[in-house]
Symmetry: C2
């Protein structure tokens, strides 16, 4: 199967109606009269409206039929109308806080029928929960629908992958001994942002985030330590690159282990082992497999080779309207892999005194296997950058 085509346009009404229909089908199964969304990511998924949460709440209410309703601050009405795709009834409140009887929840609570059964998100904050009437049931139905991507979403993710691949290419090109972290960050993120806004002049800045960094060898064994902005690239390696982005609402990442000029002898074996762990993960990557099985087999392979003390994380995670979400390729996540899921494959080992070893790609699951959506060098030779 060929890589699907890039899509750069906002979702149309039909795309969002299909998402809503799937949510409503699950609401029916769970016998919910309403579902309440507070998570801005879920609201974006269903409406195309992106925002940051401050103290003024935005709450999307999905009734089991009819149009969507959203409780919104008066201040934001024009902003919402500018971006929202589906029919949406706005229920405006003046401000937060407000005098008694004029608060957002005074209007919110009137929306629901008495004795309604209301689905709520696992992430719903207590203060919204306490103001929500009826019988409340915590349910992950929107996260469930988000697991399987539509053709439209796949087109957006192909584009997001193209952007991060481009940012990563820039990063590798500039990387040489003594270059500072901050220079790499600035050049690679600017390259991505400029490309996005040239391609999509009406891109939504509230749905764009770009990150690009390299963990030089002295810290690459600590994958979540934030590098100092004046940290310098070094001779040798392993360096580990991370380029991640949310590209006008859709996420992707690409990461590589690489070397500058030479490969230290002690790094050869772990590089080879992690490449084999990665190959094993890809061999297993077919619809029908339980995702935890992939993680278990990858870890068993690393354990057998003596690296059990150097494993810090699972094999992968999902992408969609974020660059980090379910499904998880992880022990304990006993769900079947399905076509049109999009996941990272990124087993890693982190050895103090030697460094970190991890490649990550954004990968589409197809009917008979997978397609890598991100592009970056893979072989040790290509990843030993000559910079003299």
């Amino acid at each position: 199967m060929k890589k699907p085509k890039v899509i750069k346009t906002p979702p149309n009404k039909e795309e969002l109606a299909n998402r809503l229909e799937k949510v409503r089908a699950l609401m029916g199964k769970e016998q919910l009269d309403y579902f309440v969304c507070f998570d801005p990511v879920n609201i974006y998924y269903l409406t195309n409206f992106a925002f940051y949460v401050h103290e003024r709440p935005f709450i999307l209410i999905i009734c089991n039929k009819g149009s969507l309703k959203m409780v919104v601050p008066l201040l934001e009405v024009a902003h919402i109308r500018d971006r929202v795709v589906p029919e949406l009834e706005l229920i405006e409140y003046n401000e937060f806080p407000a005098p008694e009887g004029k608060n957002w929840y005074d209007k919110y609570q009137k929306i629901f029928n008495t004795n309604a059964i209301i689905g709520i998100e696992p992430s719903m904050p207590m203060e919204i929960f306490q103001k929500t009437p009826g019988k409340k049931v915590v349910s992950e139905i929107i996260e469930e629908v988000r697991l399987i991507k539509s053709d439209y979403e796949i087109g957006r993710l192909v584009y997001a992958s193209k952007i991060v691949s481009r940012g990563h290419q820039k990063l590798l090109k500039l990387c040489k001994p003594d270059v500072a972290e901050f220079a790499l960050y600035q050049e690679a993120t600017s390259a991505m942002t400029s490309k996005i806004i040239m391609d999509i002049p009406n891109a939504n800045f509230k749905a764009i985030e770009t990150t690009a960094a390299v963990w030089p060898p002295s810290i690459s064994h600590e994958p979540h330590l934030v590098p100092n902005i004046f940290a310098k690239m070094e001779e040798g390696g392993p360096h580990v690159s991370i380029v991640q982005a949310r590209v006008d609402g859709y996420g992707a990442e690409v990461e590589r282990t690489f070397f500058l000029n030479s490969v230290p002898d002690k790094a050869r074996k772990p590089f080879e082992i992690i490449m084999n762990a990665r190959n094993l993960a890809y061999e297993l990557l077919k619809p029908g497999i339980i995702m935890s099985e992939i993680d278990k087999k990858v870890k068993n392979f690393l354990n057998k080779n003596g690296y059990s003390d150097y494993i810090l994380h699972r094999t992968g995670h999902g992408f969609g309207v974020t660059s980090h979400e379910a499904p998880y390729i992880a022990e304990g996540y006993d769900r079947v892999l399905e076509p049109n899921m999009v996941v990272s494959i990124e087993p890693g080992i982190y050895i103090p005194g030697i460094g970190g070893f991890r490649h990550s790609d954004t990968v589409l699951i197809t009917k008979d296997g997978y397609i890598k959506l991100t592009i970056a060098p893979e072989a040790l030779e290509e990843l030993t950058l000559k910079r003299n």
Copy 2:
């Protein structure tokens, strides 16, 4: 009183011990055995550790004595150790998700004594609430402690205000007819970020955010509409600028209504009225006043002058470890203004066909009044920029 001195160093152990002591005093009053923090902003306030929330939880547990505990992903231990200031017992879990019996909550639930009374934040998500044992009481005690700033915090906010004033100066300098939004954004945010990292080489990138934008006259009557990045500045006005930042963990903002080359006649009256509304707010700004009273009086003044249809928001909000938080200068927020609060003063009117009118500053409340921490032109003459 003179403006307090800039502080650019991280908080020391004593500063954070004082914050914790205040939290514990309130825990005592509410008879809480524990308080659980999940909000990254509260965790930053108490530990100096900044992070983004993904699906792997970080949970800070404050016992009524002894050292703090934090449930953390194994992957993040080095990152936490790099930034945390107080004594902190780490309770590590391997990964999320995880096989049965090895999840974060298996360790989390063992922390608490049977029958413990546990304070939780209003923002606590349902999925953390459901895993928290004992008798749970929603309580805003950390938000309460955050309202009044220590001398250290004030020094940091003075610095944050200096940074946004600098970014704003840059923005005004570059602003002329036909300049695009994106150019202004890029230059002003780069100016701020560069200054921060030159001043604070070890600044925490997870606690830095910079925003700079101008609403040109065609959209300045819609204060929360996000301007298109190719939008162009125009002859005349009102343009409305926004420069806001979280500067290595501490927030500030400055905003102005300004004109390019000439002031349309129809804009003169609303400019004068909003300046008078603002003067009224400053006259009222003394410790002891109920904050809602300021907002009511400002709105009454605007109503009396015939602008009641053009008010979209309250008079102000607080600053601290964010650039947008309690206290609120708003109807319905019936709390007394106190020294060492830091708030914005920003009454606004938004008139379709004419434009938006709002100045905002970051303001420290003192024993006998206030000190503006941000600096920008204020008079109409200075804000009519000659750009021929």
